[in-house]
């Protein structure tokens, strides 16, 4: 049986697969780090399957690993998950009226699917971009998590510097957000608050408090030339 892909679809599928491959490697890192932070293999895999939003999963795990409370970890994870709500707003018009389909598609509304879908111009390719990315990325994210979690059990986190591994992963995730001046200011203010407040608040809360930095967003967008 011969399977033919139309020429305009090919680049969409290729970039979806490449992106998913990279995310799969990231999942591997998440698996290792989460198990190092004290989560079981099952807990780690359940997070990737059901929560399915990378930065939230990472932040929750690292707050737990540094001795923060479950509420602080949950708070930071949820705060990071909130942006998917904004993506949902942006993607909503592309989808039909079927509620069932919307409920299913909602699970896959994340950074990558949003970026891939909004990069396309015609409705047919937009749908292909969303679903190809969703399926490939979800599969590799969960596969990577499982492999990482199984490997991670054999490693002592402190000896192998895994805590700094978390930090390094955050840096690579942070980079795209530093393209705008608001992004840079928010990152700098958040970073400062998280250290300065540390002696005064229980572990984990300084990270939540740094969320106050998002109010830099009320600054008019025009004022970009302030350097």
């Amino acid at each position: 049986m011969k399977f033919r892909i139309e020429p305009d679809v090919r680049p969409v599928v290729t970039s979806a697969l490449a992106l998913s491959g990279a995310v799969g490697v990231f999942a591997l890192a998440f698996g290792v780090l989460a198990v190092g932070a004290g989560a079981s293999v099952w807990q780690t895999c359940a997070l990737s399957f059901f929560a399915f939003t990378g930065a939230s999963q990472m932040s929750a795990m690292s707050i737990v690993s540094t001795g923060g409370t479950v509420s602080a970890a949950l708070g930071s994870g949820l705060l990071l998950a909130a942006r998917n709500g904004v993506y949902g707003l942006a993607l909503s018009p592309y989808f039909g009226e079927s509620l069932g389909k919307r409920l299913l598609a909602a699970h896959f509304v994340i950074d990558e699917t949003t970026a891939m879908m909004t990069a396309q111009t015609n409705p047919r390719l937009q749908k292909i971009a969303f679903w190809t990315t969703a399926i490939a990325l979800f599969s590799l994210w969960n596969l990577g998590t499982l492999i990482g979690a199984v490997l991670g059990g054999a490693i002592d986190p402190h000896t192998y510097g895994l805590d700094v591994g978390f930090t390094a992963a955050y840096i690579t995730m942070l980079v795209p957000h530093l393209r705008t001046s608001n992004g840079r200011i928010a990152a700098a203010v958040g970073a400062t608050l998280s250290v300065v407040l540390a002696p005064f608040l229980p572990v984990g809360l300084p990270i939540l408090a740094s969320g106050l930095a998002i109010f830099i967003g009320v600054r008019p967008q025009r004022a970009k030339a302030s350097a």
Binding site: L74, Y87, Y170, G183, I214
Partner: protein, 101 residues
């Protein structure tokens, strides 16, 4: 680790709720621009916080130790656009090496 299952379950429910909120509940209505702008800054603020809090604090005190060098290595590696796994391994390995000596 019952506490962690609590975390897994609530984070899963919460993450889906947010995805659905924008997608299904709010539908095609638009958020006020200012609110959307603030929400989109959440990753920048929190990731910045996690990088610095994770590097320069130890429980409730401010600390400068092996992790600082690990962070510097990670920043350089990310700046040179090395692949994620390389950035993570380099930073972790540097820290591990410094801790061993």
């Amino acid at each position: 680790m019952n506490m962690s299952w609590t975390l897994v379950i609530w984070l899963s429910i919460g993450a889906y709720a947010f995805k659905m909120l924008g997608f299904v509940v709010v539908g095609s209505r638009k958020l006020p621009n200012v609110l959307a702008q603030c929400l989109m800054l959440i990753p920048a603020a929190l990731l910045g916080a996690m990088v610095f809090n994770g590097t320069f604090t130890d429980a409730q005190s401010i600390a400068v130790d092996e992790r600082t060098i690990g962070l510097l290595v990670a920043i350089i590696a990310a700046w040179r656009k090395l692949p994620l796994i390389v950035v993570v391994v380099l930073a972790a390995a540097t820290t591990a090496l410094l801790r061993a000596i």
